[in-house]
């Protein structure tokens, strides 16, 4: 999603907006002039939904851990503090614990007894996570469940499943994939999906490298 108005070096005029862009601009500017709202009000709402709710917090933690070994160590040792370290509020009564994937161990999270989920960093859980098939089979047939969700794990990787039965909430720190050398934190965040942090997917480098 880029703010691409077709700027080129030395050009003075942006491309004319499309009709719908112009209508949106018109509406916002009229409402601001009437004192009904400010552009900052609108910015704040958009930002909340893009940055504060949903898996973006988790993805940020992961990207920072990939880039900074000291942060990774702090994240694994005291996740709530590590969340606050990046400037987020840690709003939960339960305690987050981050579990790191290893080359030979893949971690998965479930709550067999109900549907406990690390919402404070991943937002609200998907329906499948709360479903009877996942709750019943993640602990007993993890490999089959991963395959159904699109992840074929190599045979030489062991699986540890974490059943969130108490007041701890688990999030997986996936391994950083090859082909991401020199990437910025923002670029890395973009490849960390919610499913990677539940442990049912692994981050992937998009086919067209460098297209960000």
């Amino acid at each position: 999603m880029s703010h691409d108005h077709g700027h080129q070096e030395g050009a003075h005029h942006p491309d004319a907006p499309s009709e719908i862009e112009a209508r949106t601009l018109a509406l916002e500017s009229l409402l601001v002039e009437k004192g009904i709202l400010t552009s900052e009000d609108v910015d704040r709402v958009i930002s909340t939904y893009e940055h504060d709710i949903g898996p973006m917090i988790g993805a940020h933690l992961v990207a920072r851990a990939w880039l900074d070994p000291g942060y990774r160590e702090r994240l694994l040792r005291d996740a709530p503090a590590a969340v606050r370290e990046l400037g987020y509020e840690y709003r939960a009564d339960t305690r987050l614990v981050v579990i790191a994937n290893q080359p030979d161990v893949h971690n998965m999270v479930v709550c067999t007894l109900c549907s406990c989920y690390p919402w404070m960093v991943l937002g609200l859980p998907p329906t499948w996570y709360k479903s009877a098939p996942y709750r019943s089979r993640a602990v007993s047939e993890p490999r089959a469940v991963l395959a159904e969700l699109g992840l074929q794990l190599p045979d030489d990787i062991a699986i540890t499943v974490w059943d969130s039965s108490a007041e701890l909430r688990y999030m997986v720190l996936p391994e950083r994939p090859d082909g991401t050398d020199g990437w910025t934190e923002k670029q890395l965040t973009a490849i960390v999906s919610r499913d990677c942090m539940i442990g049912v997917a692994r981050p992937e480098v998009p086919a067209l490298a460098g297209k960000h």
Partner: protein, 205 residues
């Protein structure tokens, strides 16, 4: 209780089906239910009580209900049982009393854990009719203490208005073969967070 909610290891529910690009709430009332629970938890009931009530849903209904239908059942039941919502209030749609303040967050007392990291333990074969967080698939099983988690209120007591009963909690690691038999992969593990009263030291030879 040994209810259908205790699903770990069950068969017959079919494949996991993920809805891509699913909305956060599938129906507008779901958001309302979530809002009601968020707004009342901690004032009228604790989450252990809430889970306990959900577990008491008749088995058929529990299996058929969606996630938020279960929540709606639980919030209706618990507020009725606690006398939070009266007939008069339901009739008028207006509250007749102000809500109680939220329960004060309690701090755990200092406790000395019975077990240490690396200790071999065996889970007790507990089958309470009331609430517990020791899943059926992990009863009478041998495991190893992987981490000490600190002290938490025992849900078995907290869900029934007893306590608070604080106990050390542990991340206990089980071999998949211990839980599921010889056909499980020997290198796979399941980790469960368990309260101290769920555990005994593994008897030494």
């Amino acid at each position: 209780m040994n209810g259908v909610h205790d699903m770990g290891g069950m068969h017959g529910f079919g494949p996991v089906i993920a809805e891509r690009s699913e909305p956060v709430f599938h129906a507008r009332w779901e958001g309302v239910v979530r809002g009601m629970v968020d707004g009342t938890a901690g004032r009228y009931f604790n989450f252990d009580e809430f889970r306990r009530v959900m577990e008491r849903m008749p088995a058929e209904d529990y299996l058929r209900a969606s996630y938020y239908e279960k929540w709606l059942y639980a919030i209706e039941t618990i507020l009725k049982e606690k006398g939070v919502v009266t007939a008069g209030e339901l009739a008028t749609g207006r509250p007749s009393r102000p809500p109680p303040p939220p329960a004060r967050k309690q701090s755990p007392p200092q406790q000395t854990p019975r077990f240490n990291t690396g200790d071999r333990v065996v889970t007790r074969n507990l089958n309470p009719k009331g609430h517990t967080r020791l899943p059926r698939y992990a009863r009478g099983k041998r495991g190893v203490i992987r981490s000490l988690r600190g002290s938490f209120m025992l849900p078995d007591a907290n869900a029934h208005g007893r306590g608070p009963e604080w106990q050390p909690c542990y991340a206990v690691e089980f071999d998949a073969s211990e839980l599921w038999g010889a056909e499980a992969r020997p290198e796979d593990r399941v980790c469960i967070d368990l309260w101290e009263s769920y555990l005994d030291p593994e008897a030494s030879a």
